[in-house]
């Protein structure tokens, strides 16, 4: 049973997320100037890019927790890895959808294979979509945790490599659709972007804690039930992809 109290700091963190995100979005619409080339559509940038960056960092974090789990054997690290990847996957779906909307608004089609960041992101997403099925296909919980950690580590190393490779393959003939202004970003835009990025990061950590707390409560309840009800009321644990503490 883990002694870490996941809920610690959950409330201030969620407040921080709200402040940063609401403030950031306010800045997007009331403070940041309209971009010259893309116009109003460019406002999606402040939502799409933070989602993508935080999702990718979340995947890498999942890999780091995987390393910690393999080295120390503490099941809590496996849980952290699982939750980080789980939530990053949700953010990744958001990034893909917002990117698609942006592509539709800019280029008129829902997907552009020319945009290297979108394509490399799709590849990473497809890879991590296999994480939960992989876990589910391994019955033994100890082996499931180990193999999931290996997957998380390999995936975490894959994220930067894939990004580099697809970026390098980007032909210079095709202009970067989803970039910002042609030149450097003006200060007001950069500030807005950073606030949104910070808000998204805070949201990610908040959701992580939330999920971890919920899982911890469920496990505590299960063991409490076992203690109170004894053998009569024992419900066999269903096979699941999520780590059990």
């Amino acid at each position: 049973m883990t002694h870490a109290k996941f809920s610690r700091g959950l409330v201030p963190l969620s407040v921080l997320s709200v402040v940063l995100l609401v403030g950031g979005f306010a800045m997007v619409f009331f403070y940041a100037p309209n971009e010259a080339d893309q116009g109003f559509v460019q406002k999606i940038f402040y939502l799409h890019v933070p989602l993508a960056i935080v999702a990718l960092c979340g995947f890498v974090a999942g890999g780091i927790y995987g390393i910690r789990f393999l080295r120390k054997g503490d099941r809590t690290d496996d849980l952290r890895s699982y939750v980080a990847i789980h939530i990053s996957l949700i953010l990744a779906i958001g990034a893909l959808i917002t990117g698609s909307i942006w592509a539709k608004a800019s280029w008129g089609s829902w997907w552009v294979w020319d945009e290297p960041t979108l394509v490399s992101f799709l590849i990473v997403f497809l890879l991590y979509a296999c994480y939960q099925p992989l876990r589910f296909s391994i019955e033994d919980p100890e082996r499931q945790a180990r193999y999931a950690a290996v997957f998380a580590i390999v995936g975490g190393a894959f994220v930067p490599l894939n990004f580099m490779a697809v970026r390098a393959a980007d032909s210079l003939i095709h202009p970067r659709v989803l970039g910002t202004t042609g030149g450097a970003m003006p200060g007001s835009m950069r500030l807005t972007f950073l606030v949104c990025l910070a808000g998204m990061a805070a949201l990610f950590i908040t959701l992580n804690k939330y999920e971890l707390t919920s899982k911890q409560a469920t496990f505590a309840l299960r063991s409490l039930r076992r203690r109170l009800a004894g053998d009569d009321d024992w419900v066999p644990v269903r096979r699941s992809a999520a780590p059990q503490l």
Binding site: F25, L51, I97, R225
Partner: protein, 66 residues
């Protein structure tokens, strides 16, 4: 570079993007709410179970003949 969409055309797309984000967050909140209600239901059941066990122990104690 494609020409910039005028505000009326671009508005729906930007709104859609931000609404997608809102939807994701709200769906997550809903799922967590369901989990929370399940957990509180289980806690109530366990509390009942504990109360019943205490009653049982009280009842058992009293059957010892004097």
């Amino acid at each position: 570079m494609s020409p910039a969409l005028p505000l009326d055309d671009a508005g729906p797309y930007v709104a859609a993007a931000y609404l997608v984000f809102l939807a994701l967050v709200v769906i997550y909140v809903a799922i967590m709410a369901a989990k929370l209600s399940r957990i509180s239901r289980e806690i109530n059941e366990l509390a009942e179970l504990a109360a019943r066990r205490d009653e049982q122990r009280e009842a058992d104690r009293e059957t010892v003949p004097r």
